[in-house]
Amino acid sequence: MAKYTLPKERAWQQYLTERDGLFRTLPRMSRREFFRSAARAAAAATVAWNGIPPHSFQLVNVAEAKETPPKFTFAYVSDSHILDKGMNHRFIRACQKAVEDVNALDPQPDFVLFGGDLAQLGKPEELTIGQGILKTLKAPVRMMVGEHDWYLDLGEKWREMFGEPTYSFDHKGVHFVVLNSVIVEDYWTEPKMTPMERMLAMAQLDNPHGRPFTVGEAQRDWLKKDLAKVSKKTPIIVFSHSPLYKYYRPWNFWTDDAEAVQQLLAPFDTVTVIHAHTHQPLTNRIKNITFHGVLSTAWPWPYAPKGLPALTVQMVRADPFNQFDGCGWGSVTALESGQVNKHYALWDRNPMDVTFERVSQGPKGEAEQAAQFKGNVSWPSY
């Protein structure tokens, strides 16, 4: 190897730049990244790098951390399904518990997403109780609607209390879209169902006569126009009650026009969908879109018999003797890259973290899944 030397001044500038870079990145580097990059630096020490003899500050260049530093965090509380049966009802207490937990976060999240199904039967009393609890959150709240909120009066009370269900906003360089993805084909007008009959039909998850959720043409048109103003490099985060993909039709873990919606999101570099309704940790990736489910405060759904996305590491089945098990709240950290890390704050269990790095590694084999399982059991086992 021929010995190569740069003009002294340029070498010195390069050295200073790299040294500054290292000191800036070190505090944000995880322990794992540090050791990884240290190993790489050791390997690179034998090789000329960019024509400049390797030195200790090249740790920065060699690091190549896939995980970029975090930009901001928002929390979520979802699927509280409040019933107006006295303030001691478990669903109300669980919602309050989530709010307390979010309020205890330090630092506070930038905002809190409410993921839909605030009420169980869409009644004004239920929505009012829910609104009262969410008002005690310290951080600002962004509301999203679920089918349980909507189908008693087709959203009349919701609009009055929380405004239009479909909207978008920008926050620290990320474009957020909030959808009403629980639109179903009208099956109640013809048989002259009463509002409560309609609501009860929609409330039954395993309703064999249920119609699939959709976003619908009107909203897709709105979305197209909304996204036209957004640069393809801007990170997009979509809030949706239904998953915006197809998981299990009999339980409406499903969005019928998912492909059409995904098509509208396809041109963008980084897209994440945060969805509710499924009451369980859920991870999926379809092309450029990462999908994360959120927890319910009220009760967990079992995993469906089929259709589970391969990326998902299932939480161990909830202990029926513990009313908070399998439930909780969570948070999402938006990274510099525009991708997200997802945090599930499961009550009475170890929290689950699904980082973007983990997602980009693809589905894990069975042995690794089992190992990850072990840290996530509630006690006592039954």
Binding site: L83, L205, D206, P250, W251, P302, F321, Y382
Partner: protein, 202 residues
């Protein structure tokens, strides 16, 4: 007495548990008309076929037999039992009508169970079974009986059903022979048709 009623009655009689007393004391169920004792005063024991009986000399009606005598009585009854009469109509195959009746009645009970499973009236707080168990998923009835730590005893499916009614649903528990309980069990079990029994599975 219509033919249907006769078939049902005899079929029901066949279904009676073979007991040494021969008495069907279960609601309005069919009775085995026992003949008078051969010696005029001793105990008569009837078989579950509704026809066969033996007199037990030296034992008074209502008196409890010792193990040896009871064993002899049972052997004698089984000896006299005409296996050709095992079916309602002497050895021929089930008729279409019978099969339809059985399926219809079972379906009625299962549908009743489906209704209660999805009803918020089992409890008092608006919660229903299907909220945690859509399509009765995660009920695993095939794993009962099992020792349930939290109940500190061995539990049957109905014990867990009652626990759920009392706790998450905050409702009154059901008696074992409550039609709602039978219907609920019927529905839950029907969703696990073909699944191997695994009592004690945790």
């Amino acid at each position: 007495m219509g033919r249907m009623h006769r078939i049902l009655t005899v079929t029901a009689a066949m279904a009676v548990v073979c007991g040494v007393t021969g008495l069907v004391a279960y609601g309005d169920g069919p009775q085995h008309e026992l003949p008078a004792p051969a010696d005029g005063h001793s105990k008569v024991v009837g078989l579950c076929d509704g026809k066969t009986s033996v007199t037990v000399p030296g034992v008074a009606p209502g008196e409890r037999m010792d193990a040896t005598t009871a064993r002899k009585v049972a052997d004698e009854l089984m000896g006299k039992y005409d296996e050709g009469l095992q079916l309602a109509h002497g050895g021929s195959e089930h008729t279409q009508r019978e099969t339809r009746v059985w399926e219809a009645e079972l379906k009625r009970t299962i549908d009743e169970g489906y209704k209660w499973f999805h009803s918020n009236e089992l409890g008092t707080n608006g919660i229903s079974c299907d909220m945690c168990h859509p399509d009765a998923s995660n009920t695993h009835p095939e794993s009962y009986p099992k020792f349930q730590t939290q109940l500190k005893q061995v539990a049957l499916l109905r014990d867990m059903i009652n626990w759920c009614i009392e706790n998450p649903l905050e409702g009154p528990k059901l008696a074992g022979d409550d039609p709602k309980m039978k219907a609920l069990e019927a529905y839950i079990l029907s969703t696990r048709k073909g699944v191997a029994l695994e009592p004690g599975k945790h």
